[in-house]
């Protein structure tokens, strides 16, 4: 029988069934303190084919992909990849919780920025993000959270009004279309 445990396992190219729940991933996770579900619990849900609960949690969007869990897992389970799989699945199923809409909006904005320029244009990203975030409090992403930073960056030549663009932007767009279509 095709269990959904394999679903996450296959998406992440890792054997989630190997996990014996030692919790080393949770123990080492820099974000665990603020997660609503622990990494080992997320793997457990994947094991049981109950990833439904996992894809709705905030934790998968708090994961920084620092690879500490994957590096130290005694059973060689790629937990970081499981987190990626959960994120992708939660987008497919549209189950992401309110609290993380902002994160997702930002990452979509980021990709859209790449889609059009081929490379990241930070200043433009802010604008895009604001429009995409459509949230009451639009807190400025990444580097610019501290309102004082932007001007300082300008004066240090760290922020460019006109960002770089790649020559062959057509191929970038086609790559995006081909990949996104697969979703």
């Amino acid at each position: 029988m095709e269990t959904t445990a394999n679903l996450i396992g296959e998406m992440a190219h890792t054997a989630v069934e190997d996990c014996y729940q030692c919790g080393k991933c949770t123990a080492g996770c820099p974000m665990a303190d603020v997660m609503d579900l622990m990494p080992n619990q997320i793997v457990r849900l994947a094991q049981l084919g109950e990833e439904g609960r996992a894809v709705a949690c905030g934790a998968i969007w708090l994961c920084v992909s620092c690879q500490t869990c994957t590096q130290r897992c005694p059973k060689s389970v790629d937990i970081a990849a499981v987190m990626d799989a959960m994120r992708q699945l939660s987008l497919e199923r549209g189950t992401a919780s309110e609290s993380v809409k902002r994160t997702i909006a930002f990452q979509r904005a980021f990709l859209d920025n790449i889609r059009r320029n081929g490379r990241l244009n930070e200043l433009e990203l802010v604008g895009q993000y604001k429009t995409m975030a459509f949230l009451g409090d639009v807190s400025v992403p990444l580097l610019f959270k501290d309102a004082l930073l932007a001007p300082k960056m300008m004066q240090r030549g760290k922020l460019h009004l006109i960002g770089e663009k790649v020559k062959d932007r057509g191929v970038v767009r086609r790559i995006f279309d081909r990949c996104m279509r697969q979703e």
Binding site: Y20, Q21, C22, G23, K24, C25, T26, A27, G28, C29, A32, D33, M38, N40, Q41, T68, R72, C73, P74, K75, S76
Partner: protein
């Protein structure tokens, strides 16, 4: 053979009911070469056997078939009967017409027909049997025990007490092994040295035990019954005969700051030293790396001080040869080295635990020394960095065990128990202290083991957290242990004064090399392989070589001791015979046709076949050939099947015999 006797048994009604024994007898009587064919109610009974003996004599029979039950039941019986009548027992075969015929069929016609064919097969086979003499191998009734830990000590004493000589070889300066360094032992908490040292003394004084300490096995020749073992006796620089063990030498030795191996590097020893007060033999050795005189010719105060003049700076390694008939391997274990310098590239160590980086992160054996009354702290729990009494200790299980990424896949079996013991000992010594244990499962299968662990939790207040630890850092004097409590589903951070890592058990260094010398197999981790996991647990596939203790797999003291006695028993059984008698139904090579491809040598599970040379009378080389050592062959016949040139054959199951059996079934 032309004078075969066939004796068909009724087995009361058991055979006769379903097989027409009369018709069987008449039919078989017609088979060429069959001199007599008779049937009788109970062939295995005394009168039955008597009738067989009489017929052998009267009819000068040269071959015997008893058509009755399974050979596993009575072949020995009838071979004995034949021997009693002067017929070589290997000229007797059985035809199983009970278990394989009368008991499993319901049609008398078919059963009878089948019985006749079964017997005909046996007749064709026995026709081609050879008279064989049991192989007798003279043996040296003297055993070698490698390893002087508790297992080796037990094995040596048992064999010696059975009346046989024992040669005991130990790599360290004293016997005692790991157990001598333990504090108290689970589940009874009796003092390790108190129970072990008397046995050590016994070994030292036993008239039949020859002790080689500070020595290592360097080579092994020969085979079961007759091994020649080369042993390197490392230069000790102390004359064992002259020395009285008075201790004046190490009292005056100025080289003080040498880490003590016995104290797991937690204490110091002199350059001339005995590892611990109760050492056997109570004779010192000089550590040539640390001795000022041996390094740069200065000092030598020990020699000046030594009244009997036992110090000998010009001492040299010496290789001696011992002759023994059996070998017991009891080389024990070492701990997984938690730092990254590993003998095996796969074992990357646990950088995240900071062992070797933070003084107060130690392993289980080091804690044993801290808790031991004979230890560097006299049994007071003091942390290495500053000698302060730790008020909070974290114990971590499964370090290197059950970890395919950094360590071994197997469970080291004893850690659950000694971690509980450590927590207990600590709480007994430091009443206001906190003991925290990180574990994955508590494996306490053993007499009074579960109760012991519960006691640690319920009475001594050890706090168990179900989860692994990810990282240990040191911040303002505390060891910050970041683990998880998977039962709560949250990370746990504990600021401890000391951390004890229960690191995995691995076979001791050099065990694989020794195994190779003895032709004993090892598993992927270097543990020695037993001959059969259930039925031959202390035997190996090398005849005359036995294993016991942690060289076979992770084991605690009771198991190691039990296994040691088992191995000793096997040796005693072997020595109880005048000489080694082995079943002559073994393989042999036709050396003239042998193509010397040595496929058989590779296929033989008992390394009983060797590469040899055929020489002429004057000893000139003629050709290479494979040669079976009948002393080692167990008669499985694998070599016969793999030989491309059909130059190997197996007595009792020869090609000729089997083929003729098949042919006898031709329509």
């Amino acid at each position: 053979m032309s004078r075969i006797g066939v004796f068909t048994c009724w087995c009361g009604e058991n055979i006769a009911r379903m097989v027409d024994v009369q018709r069987v007898t008449e039919t078989i009587a017609q088979v060429p070469g069959v001199r007599v064919a008779v049937n009788y109610k109970y062939m295995c009974s005394d009168p039955g056997q008597a009738s067989i003996r009489d017929k052998i004599v009267e009819e000068k029979l040269d071959g015997l078939v008893v058509a009755a039950c399974s050979p596993h039941m009575h072949l020995k019986t009838f071979r004995r009967a034949a021997a009693a009548a002067g017929l070589n027992p290997y000229l007797v075969e059985m035809a199983n017409i009970r278990e394989h015929c009368s008991w499993v069929h319901k049609d008398k016609e078919l059963a009878t027909a089948k019985a006749i064919e079964i017997i005909r097969m046996a007749v064709e086979k026995v026709r081609r049997n050879h008279a064989l003499q049991p192989i007798r191998v003279p043996m040296t009734k003297r055993a070698l025990v490698v390893g002087g830990g508790v297992a080796g000590i037990q094995a040596a004493l048992d064999i010696a007490d059975a009346g046989y000589e024992v040669v005991l070889v130990e790599r360290d300066p004293s016997i005692g092994g790991k157990m001598a360094g333990l504090s108290e032992t689970f589940p009874t908490l009796d003092c390790s040295q108190c129970i072990l040292t008397p046995r050590m003394v016994e070994v030292g004084q036993h008239p039949r035990i020859k002790l080689h300490t500070y020595s290592e096995v360097e080579g092994v020749e020969g085979f079961v019954g007759n091994f020649k073992v080369q042993i390197r006796k490392k230069a000790r620089y102390v004359d064992m005969i002259k020395c009285t063990g008075c201790g004046d030498c190490w009292a005056v030795c100025p080289s003080k700051k040498n880490l003590s191996e016995f104290d797991q590097g937690m204490g110091y020893r002199k350059a001339i030293y005995i590892p611990f007060p109760q050492a056997v033999p109570a004779r010192p050795v000089i550590d040539k790396e640390a001795c000022l005189y041996l390094k740069n010719g200065k000092c030598g105060v020990c020699a000046k001080k030594c009244v009997p003049q036992a110090i000998n700076f010009s001492d040299q390694d010496e290789v001696i040869t011992e002759e023994v008939g059996a070998v017991i391997v009891a080389t024990g274990y070492r701990l997984y080295n938690i730092t990254k310098d590993q003998d095996n590239s796969k074992l990357t160590g646990y950088g995240e635990y900071g062992y070797g980086l933070y003084k107060d992160v130690i392993d289980g054996l080091q804690f044993e020394r801290l808790a031991s009354a004979s230890g560097p702290t006299g049994g007071a729990i003091k942390r290495p960095s500053d000698g302060a009494e730790p008020k909070k200790i974290v114990f971590i299980s499964c370090v290197g065990s059950r970890d395919e990424q950094h360590g071994m896949t197997y469970c080291s079996k004893i850690c659950c128990m000694y971690v509980a013991k450590h927590a207990m000992l600590y709480k007994h010594k430091v009443h206001d202290g906190e003991a925290h244990i990180f574990y994955m499962d508590i494996r306490a299968g053993g007499k009074n083991y579960e109760e012991f662990v519960r006691r640690a939790i319920e009475q001594d207040g050890a706090v168990y957290h179900r989860g692994r630890v990810s990282k240990i850092t040191q911040e303002n004097g505390k060891l910050v242990v970041r683990g998880a409590d998977t039962l709560l589903g949250q990370p746990v951070t504990i600021e401890a004064d000391m951390v004890v890592l229960a690191s995995a058990m691995r076979p001791s260094e050099g065990a694989t090399r020794l195994a190779q010398m003895l032709n004993v197999g090892v598993d992927e981790f270097g543990f020695l392989s037993e001959s059969h996991p259930k039925l031959r647990p202390v035997e190996t596939n090398a005849a005359g070589v036995f294993i016991c203790g942690a060289c076979h797999a992770p084991k605690d003291i009771p198991e190691a001791v039990a296994q040691a006695s088992a191995a000793a028993g096997k040796v005693a059984i072997m020595f109880a015979n005048e000489e080694l008698t082995r079943d002559p139904e073994v393989a042999s090579v036709n050396e003239l046709t042998c193509a010397a491809c040595f496929t058989c040598v590779r296929a033989c599970p008992y390394t009983a076949i060797e590469k040899a040379m055929v020489l002429d009378g004057r000893g000139n080389f003629i050709k290479n050939t494979a040669r079976v050592n009948p002393g080692l062959c167990m008669g499985c016949g694998t070599c016969v099947a793999v030989c491309p040139s059909k130059s190997v054959d197996l007595e009792g199951f020869s090609e000729e015999q089997i083929y003729s059996q098949v042919e006898s079934l031709a329509l």
